[in-house]
Protein backbone atom coordinates (compact mmCIF):
# COMPACT_ATOMS: atom_id res chain seq x y z
CA UNK A 1 0.00 0.00 0.00
CA UNK A 2 2.72 2.43 1.02
CA UNK A 3 4.78 1.42 -1.95
CA UNK A 4 1.92 2.08 -4.22
CA UNK A 5 1.41 5.48 -2.70
CA UNK A 6 5.12 6.16 -3.22
CA UNK A 7 5.02 5.12 -6.84
CA UNK A 8 1.88 6.94 -7.83
CA UNK A 9 1.52 9.26 -4.88
CA UNK A 10 1.28 12.39 -6.94
CA UNK A 11 -1.98 11.27 -8.52
CA UNK A 12 -3.69 9.58 -5.59
CA UNK A 13 -5.64 12.46 -4.17
CA UNK A 14 -6.58 14.09 -7.40
CA UNK A 15 -10.08 15.42 -6.85
CA UNK A 16 -12.00 15.21 -10.05
CA UNK A 17 -14.91 17.52 -10.64
CA UNK A 18 -18.27 15.99 -9.86
CA UNK A 19 -20.45 15.42 -12.87
CA UNK A 20 -23.84 17.09 -12.93
CA UNK A 21 -25.83 14.23 -11.45
CA UNK A 22 -29.18 15.95 -11.78
CA UNK A 23 -28.60 16.40 -15.52
CA UNK A 24 -27.79 12.68 -15.82
CA UNK A 25 -30.96 11.91 -13.86
CA UNK A 26 -33.02 14.04 -16.24
CA UNK A 27 -31.47 12.36 -19.29
CA UNK A 28 -32.24 8.93 -17.82
CA UNK A 29 -35.83 9.89 -17.05
CA UNK A 30 -36.37 11.36 -20.51
CA UNK A 31 -34.87 8.27 -22.18
CA UNK A 32 -37.15 6.05 -20.07
CA UNK A 33 -40.11 8.17 -21.18
CA UNK A 34 -39.08 7.76 -24.83
CA UNK A 35 -38.79 4.00 -24.28
CA UNK A 36 -42.32 3.85 -22.94
CA UNK A 37 -43.47 5.92 -25.93
CA UNK A 38 -41.76 3.56 -28.39
CA UNK A 39 -43.38 0.65 -26.55
CA UNK A 40 -46.83 2.22 -26.72
CA UNK A 41 -46.99 3.38 -30.35
CA UNK A 42 -47.38 0.55 -32.84
CA UNK A 43 -44.06 0.54 -34.68
CA UNK A 44 -43.03 -2.43 -36.84
CA UNK A 45 -41.32 -5.06 -34.71
CA UNK A 46 -37.77 -4.60 -36.08
CA UNK A 47 -37.90 -0.80 -35.63
CA UNK A 48 -39.30 -1.15 -32.13
CA UNK A 49 -36.67 -3.70 -31.07
CA UNK A 50 -33.82 -1.71 -32.61
CA UNK A 51 -34.90 1.55 -30.99
CA UNK A 52 -35.49 -0.01 -27.58
CA UNK A 53 -32.10 -1.75 -27.54
CA UNK A 54 -30.35 1.47 -28.58
CA UNK A 55 -32.17 3.46 -25.88
CA UNK A 56 -31.38 0.84 -23.21
CA UNK A 57 -27.69 0.88 -24.11
CA UNK A 58 -27.65 4.67 -24.07
CA UNK A 59 -29.04 4.60 -20.52
CA UNK A 60 -26.62 1.87 -19.44
CA UNK A 61 -23.66 3.87 -20.79
CA UNK A 62 -24.87 7.02 -18.97
CA UNK A 63 -25.04 5.11 -15.66
CA UNK A 64 -21.59 3.55 -16.15
CA UNK A 65 -19.90 6.76 -17.31
CA UNK A 66 -21.27 9.21 -14.75
CA UNK A 67 -22.79 7.36 -11.78
CA UNK A 68 -20.02 4.75 -11.79
CA UNK A 69 -17.46 7.46 -12.63
CA UNK A 70 -15.97 5.54 -15.54
CA UNK A 71 -15.60 8.81 -17.47
CA UNK A 72 -13.27 10.14 -14.76
CA UNK A 73 -11.30 6.96 -14.12
CA UNK A 74 -8.05 5.88 -15.64
CA UNK A 75 -8.31 4.44 -19.10
CA UNK A 76 -6.89 1.17 -17.78
CA UNK A 77 -10.07 0.51 -15.81
CA UNK A 78 -11.97 0.50 -19.07
CA UNK A 79 -10.26 -2.79 -19.93
CA UNK A 80 -12.11 -4.42 -17.04
CA UNK A 81 -15.38 -2.69 -17.83
CA UNK A 82 -15.33 -3.46 -21.54
CA UNK A 83 -14.29 -7.14 -21.19
CA UNK A 84 -17.76 -8.55 -20.38
CA UNK A 85 -19.26 -6.48 -23.21
CA UNK A 86 -16.82 -7.96 -25.73
CA UNK A 87 -17.23 -11.50 -24.39
CA UNK A 88 -21.02 -11.22 -24.46
CA UNK A 89 -20.95 -9.93 -28.03
CA UNK A 90 -18.88 -12.98 -28.89
CA UNK A 91 -21.33 -15.23 -27.01
CA UNK A 92 -24.26 -13.82 -29.00
CA UNK A 93 -22.36 -14.35 -32.27
CA UNK A 94 -21.66 -17.93 -31.27
CA UNK A 95 -25.35 -18.53 -30.65
CA UNK A 96 -26.28 -17.28 -34.12
CA UNK A 97 -25.40 -20.44 -36.14
CA UNK A 98 -27.57 -22.53 -33.86
CA UNK A 99 -30.48 -20.12 -34.09
CA UNK A 100 -30.30 -19.63 -37.84
CA UNK A 101 -30.19 -23.36 -38.54
CA UNK A 102 -33.11 -23.89 -36.21
CA UNK A 103 -35.07 -21.24 -38.06
CA UNK A 104 -34.48 -23.08 -41.37
CA UNK A 105 -35.94 -26.29 -40.03
CA UNK A 106 -38.63 -24.85 -37.84
CA UNK A 107 -41.38 -26.20 -40.06
CA UNK A 108 -39.94 -29.70 -39.85
CA UNK A 109 -39.37 -29.68 -36.12
CA UNK A 110 -41.90 -27.48 -34.45
CA UNK A 111 -40.76 -26.99 -30.91
CA UNK A 112 -44.23 -26.57 -29.52
CA UNK A 113 -45.53 -29.83 -30.92
CA UNK A 114 -45.04 -32.47 -28.29
CA UNK A 115 -47.32 -35.44 -28.07
CA UNK A 116 -48.80 -35.49 -24.55
CA UNK A 117 -49.86 -39.10 -24.98
CA UNK A 118 -46.29 -40.19 -25.65
CA UNK A 119 -45.01 -38.15 -22.74
CA UNK A 120 -47.61 -39.66 -20.43
CA UNK A 121 -46.87 -43.18 -21.55
CA UNK A 122 -43.16 -42.82 -21.20
CA UNK A 123 -42.38 -39.97 -18.80
CA UNK A 124 -38.76 -40.93 -18.19
CA UNK A 125 -36.80 -42.97 -20.68
CA UNK A 126 -35.53 -46.09 -18.94
CA UNK A 127 -31.83 -46.91 -19.08
CA UNK A 128 -31.21 -48.87 -22.28
CA UNK A 129 -29.78 -51.97 -20.66
CA UNK A 130 -30.82 -53.12 -17.25
CA UNK A 131 -29.83 -56.76 -17.59
CA UNK A 132 -29.04 -58.31 -14.21
CA UNK A 133 -25.25 -58.35 -13.85
CA UNK A 134 -25.45 -61.68 -11.98
CA UNK A 135 -26.11 -63.49 -15.28
CA UNK A 136 -22.47 -63.28 -16.37
CA UNK A 137 -21.03 -64.23 -13.04
Amino acid sequence: MTTQAAVSGHEVHEEHAEPNYIAVFIYLSVLTGIELGVYAIGLPQFAKVGLLIALAWAKAVLVAMYFMHLAMERRGLWVIAITPVLLLTFLCLMLLPDLTTRMWTKFDHKIKVTNPAEMGANPVAPPPEQAPPAANN
Binding site: S8, F25, L36, L77, A81, L91, I111, K112
Partner: protein, 207 residues
Protein backbone atom coordinates in the same frame (compact mmCIF):
# COMPACT_ATOMS: atom_id res chain seq x y z
CA UNK B 1 10.55 -8.23 -3.53
CA UNK B 2 9.94 -5.55 -6.07
CA UNK B 3 8.05 -3.65 -3.39
CA UNK B 4 11.14 -3.41 -1.21
CA UNK B 5 13.18 -2.32 -4.19
CA UNK B 6 10.72 0.42 -4.97
CA UNK B 7 10.76 1.72 -1.39
CA UNK B 8 14.56 1.74 -1.27
CA UNK B 9 15.02 3.67 -4.48
CA UNK B 10 12.45 6.13 -3.32
CA UNK B 11 14.24 6.51 0.02
CA UNK B 12 17.50 7.36 -1.67
CA UNK B 13 15.84 10.05 -3.69
CA UNK B 14 16.54 8.30 -6.96
CA UNK B 15 14.15 8.55 -9.85
CA UNK B 16 11.33 6.10 -9.25
CA UNK B 17 10.88 3.91 -12.23
CA UNK B 18 7.73 1.84 -12.69
CA UNK B 19 8.82 -1.24 -10.82
CA UNK B 20 5.27 -2.01 -9.84
CA UNK B 21 2.31 -2.12 -12.09
CA UNK B 22 0.53 1.11 -11.08
CA UNK B 23 -2.92 0.49 -9.68
CA UNK B 24 -5.84 1.18 -11.96
CA UNK B 25 -7.63 2.73 -8.99
CA UNK B 26 -4.99 4.63 -7.05
CA UNK B 27 -5.99 5.22 -3.46
CA UNK B 28 -8.82 2.70 -3.40
CA UNK B 29 -8.01 -0.93 -4.08
CA UNK B 30 -11.53 -1.97 -3.09
CA UNK B 31 -12.78 -0.18 -6.18
CA UNK B 32 -10.60 -2.37 -8.38
CA UNK B 33 -11.92 -5.45 -6.61
CA UNK B 34 -15.51 -4.34 -7.05
CA UNK B 35 -15.02 -3.61 -10.76
CA UNK B 36 -13.54 -7.07 -11.24
CA UNK B 37 -16.47 -8.65 -9.41
CA UNK B 38 -18.94 -6.62 -11.45
CA UNK B 39 -17.32 -7.73 -14.70
CA UNK B 40 -17.85 -11.35 -13.63
CA UNK B 41 -21.38 -10.61 -12.44
CA UNK B 42 -22.13 -8.91 -15.76
CA UNK B 43 -21.12 -12.14 -17.50
CA UNK B 44 -23.62 -14.08 -15.38
CA UNK B 45 -26.44 -11.69 -16.19
CA UNK B 46 -25.34 -11.49 -19.82
CA UNK B 47 -25.30 -15.26 -20.20
CA UNK B 48 -28.80 -15.40 -18.68
CA UNK B 49 -30.13 -12.72 -21.02
CA UNK B 50 -28.40 -14.31 -24.03
CA UNK B 51 -29.94 -17.69 -23.15
CA UNK B 52 -33.32 -16.01 -22.86
CA UNK B 53 -32.83 -14.38 -26.26
CA UNK B 54 -31.75 -17.65 -27.87
CA UNK B 55 -34.73 -19.54 -26.46
CA UNK B 56 -37.09 -16.80 -27.52
CA UNK B 57 -35.78 -16.34 -31.07
CA UNK B 58 -35.62 -20.09 -31.58
CA UNK B 59 -39.23 -20.59 -30.57
CA UNK B 60 -41.82 -19.30 -33.05
CA UNK B 61 -44.57 -19.79 -30.45
CA UNK B 62 -43.06 -17.50 -27.81
CA UNK B 63 -45.85 -15.36 -26.32
CA UNK B 64 -45.78 -11.58 -26.43
CA UNK B 65 -44.62 -10.24 -23.03
CA UNK B 66 -47.45 -7.70 -23.04
CA UNK B 67 -49.94 -10.59 -22.85
CA UNK B 68 -48.74 -11.33 -19.33
CA UNK B 69 -46.57 -8.54 -18.02
CA UNK B 70 -47.97 -5.11 -17.28
CA UNK B 71 -45.43 -2.30 -17.44
CA UNK B 72 -47.05 0.28 -15.19
CA UNK B 73 -45.62 -1.15 -11.96
CA UNK B 74 -42.34 -1.94 -13.68
CA UNK B 75 -41.97 1.58 -15.06
CA UNK B 76 -42.41 2.91 -11.52
CA UNK B 77 -39.82 0.40 -10.30
CA UNK B 78 -37.41 1.58 -12.99
CA UNK B 79 -37.92 5.18 -11.96
CA UNK B 80 -37.41 4.33 -8.27
CA UNK B 81 -34.12 2.59 -9.06
CA UNK B 82 -32.88 5.57 -11.10
CA UNK B 83 -33.83 7.90 -8.21
CA UNK B 84 -32.00 5.69 -5.73
CA UNK B 85 -28.89 5.86 -7.92
CA UNK B 86 -29.06 9.65 -7.68
CA UNK B 87 -29.47 9.55 -3.88
CA UNK B 88 -26.47 7.18 -3.78
CA UNK B 89 -24.18 9.63 -5.59
CA UNK B 90 -25.47 12.47 -3.38
CA UNK B 91 -24.72 10.33 -0.32
CA UNK B 92 -21.17 9.69 -1.57
CA UNK B 93 -20.73 13.36 -2.30
CA UNK B 94 -21.85 14.08 1.28
CA UNK B 95 -19.32 11.82 2.98
CA UNK B 96 -16.51 12.93 0.65
CA UNK B 97 -17.06 16.49 1.84
CA UNK B 98 -17.33 15.40 5.47
CA UNK B 99 -21.02 16.24 5.62
CA UNK B 100 -22.23 13.32 7.73
CA UNK B 101 -25.87 14.35 7.98
CA UNK B 102 -26.13 14.64 4.20
CA UNK B 103 -24.52 11.20 3.85
CA UNK B 104 -26.97 9.65 6.32
CA UNK B 105 -30.04 11.28 4.81
CA UNK B 106 -29.27 10.25 1.24
CA UNK B 107 -28.06 6.78 2.21
CA UNK B 108 -31.32 6.25 4.10
CA UNK B 109 -33.23 7.35 0.98
CA UNK B 110 -31.18 4.92 -1.11
CA UNK B 111 -32.04 2.05 1.23
CA UNK B 112 -35.67 3.14 1.15
CA UNK B 113 -35.63 3.11 -2.66
CA UNK B 114 -34.27 -0.44 -2.67
CA UNK B 115 -36.92 -1.59 -0.20
CA UNK B 116 -39.66 0.07 -2.28
CA UNK B 117 -38.35 -1.69 -5.38
CA UNK B 118 -38.41 -5.06 -3.63
CA UNK B 119 -41.90 -4.41 -2.28
CA UNK B 120 -43.23 -3.60 -5.75
CA UNK B 121 -41.50 -6.64 -7.21
CA UNK B 122 -43.05 -8.86 -4.53
CA UNK B 123 -46.44 -7.32 -5.33
CA UNK B 124 -45.90 -7.96 -9.05
CA UNK B 125 -44.82 -11.58 -8.52
CA UNK B 126 -47.78 -12.16 -6.23
CA UNK B 127 -50.10 -10.99 -8.99
CA UNK B 128 -48.34 -13.02 -11.72
CA UNK B 129 -48.19 -16.20 -9.68
CA UNK B 130 -51.74 -15.85 -8.41
CA UNK B 131 -54.16 -14.13 -10.76
CA UNK B 132 -52.16 -14.61 -13.98
CA UNK B 133 -51.37 -18.26 -13.19
CA UNK B 134 -47.69 -18.02 -14.10
CA UNK B 135 -45.28 -20.49 -12.57
CA UNK B 136 -41.57 -21.13 -12.97
CA UNK B 137 -42.46 -24.71 -13.95
CA UNK B 138 -45.08 -23.86 -16.56
CA UNK B 139 -43.00 -23.01 -19.62
CA UNK B 140 -39.79 -21.36 -20.74
CA UNK B 141 -41.37 -17.92 -20.93
CA UNK B 142 -42.23 -18.07 -17.24
CA UNK B 143 -39.00 -19.79 -16.23
CA UNK B 144 -36.74 -17.21 -17.93
CA UNK B 145 -38.86 -14.38 -16.51
CA UNK B 146 -38.70 -15.54 -12.92
CA UNK B 147 -35.05 -16.56 -13.06
CA UNK B 148 -33.83 -13.27 -14.57
CA UNK B 149 -35.98 -10.93 -12.49
CA UNK B 150 -35.47 -13.09 -9.40
CA UNK B 151 -31.68 -13.10 -9.80
CA UNK B 152 -31.78 -9.33 -10.16
CA UNK B 153 -34.10 -9.06 -7.13
CA UNK B 154 -31.53 -11.01 -5.09
CA UNK B 155 -28.94 -8.43 -6.14
CA UNK B 156 -31.21 -5.60 -5.01
CA UNK B 157 -31.71 -7.36 -1.68
CA UNK B 158 -27.95 -7.74 -1.34
CA UNK B 159 -27.52 -4.05 -2.13
CA UNK B 160 -30.11 -3.05 0.49
CA UNK B 161 -28.21 -5.07 3.12
CA UNK B 162 -24.87 -3.65 1.95
CA UNK B 163 -26.12 -0.06 2.05
CA UNK B 164 -27.88 -0.61 5.38
CA UNK B 165 -24.62 -1.77 6.95
CA UNK B 166 -22.92 1.43 5.79
CA UNK B 167 -25.86 3.52 7.01
CA UNK B 168 -25.77 1.88 10.45
CA UNK B 169 -22.01 2.42 10.65
CA UNK B 170 -22.59 6.03 9.71
CA UNK B 171 -25.30 6.46 12.34
CA UNK B 172 -22.96 4.96 14.96
CA UNK B 173 -20.34 7.50 13.92
CA UNK B 174 -17.97 4.81 12.66
CA UNK B 175 -17.70 6.00 9.09
CA UNK B 176 -15.43 9.04 9.01
CA UNK B 177 -14.66 11.06 5.90
CA UNK B 178 -11.44 9.08 5.44
CA UNK B 179 -13.54 5.98 4.76
CA UNK B 180 -15.54 7.54 1.94
CA UNK B 181 -13.94 4.94 -0.34
CA UNK B 182 -16.19 2.28 1.21
CA UNK B 183 -19.26 4.23 0.14
CA UNK B 184 -17.85 4.68 -3.35
CA UNK B 185 -17.36 0.91 -3.70
CA UNK B 186 -20.90 0.24 -2.43
CA UNK B 187 -22.12 2.84 -4.92
CA UNK B 188 -20.49 0.98 -7.81
CA UNK B 189 -22.44 -2.13 -6.84
CA UNK B 190 -25.70 -0.22 -6.49
CA UNK B 191 -25.37 1.56 -9.84
CA UNK B 192 -24.54 -1.74 -11.50
CA UNK B 193 -27.81 -3.20 -10.14
CA UNK B 194 -29.57 -0.18 -11.64
CA UNK B 195 -27.78 -0.68 -14.97
CA UNK B 196 -28.77 -4.34 -15.15
CA UNK B 197 -32.38 -3.46 -14.41
CA UNK B 198 -32.38 -0.99 -17.31
CA UNK B 199 -31.43 -3.87 -19.64
CA UNK B 200 -33.81 -6.39 -18.06
CA UNK B 201 -36.68 -3.91 -18.24
CA UNK B 202 -36.05 -3.52 -21.96
CA UNK B 203 -35.39 -7.14 -22.91
CA UNK B 204 -38.00 -8.83 -20.70
CA UNK B 205 -40.83 -6.32 -20.52
CA UNK B 206 -40.69 -3.94 -23.47
CA UNK B 207 -39.43 -5.99 -26.40
Amino acid sequence: MSEAAAVDTHGQGAVVIDQLEPSLTPGNLGKLGMWTFLAADAMTFGAGIAAYGALRIGNPNWPSPSDYLGITTTAIMTFILICSSVTMVESLSGIQRGDQSRFRLFMALTVLGGVAFLGLQAHEWHDLLGAKGMSVKRDLFDATFFILTGFHGCHVFGGVVYNSVLLIRGLMGKLPQAKAGLVEVAGLYWHFVDLVWILIFTFIYLI
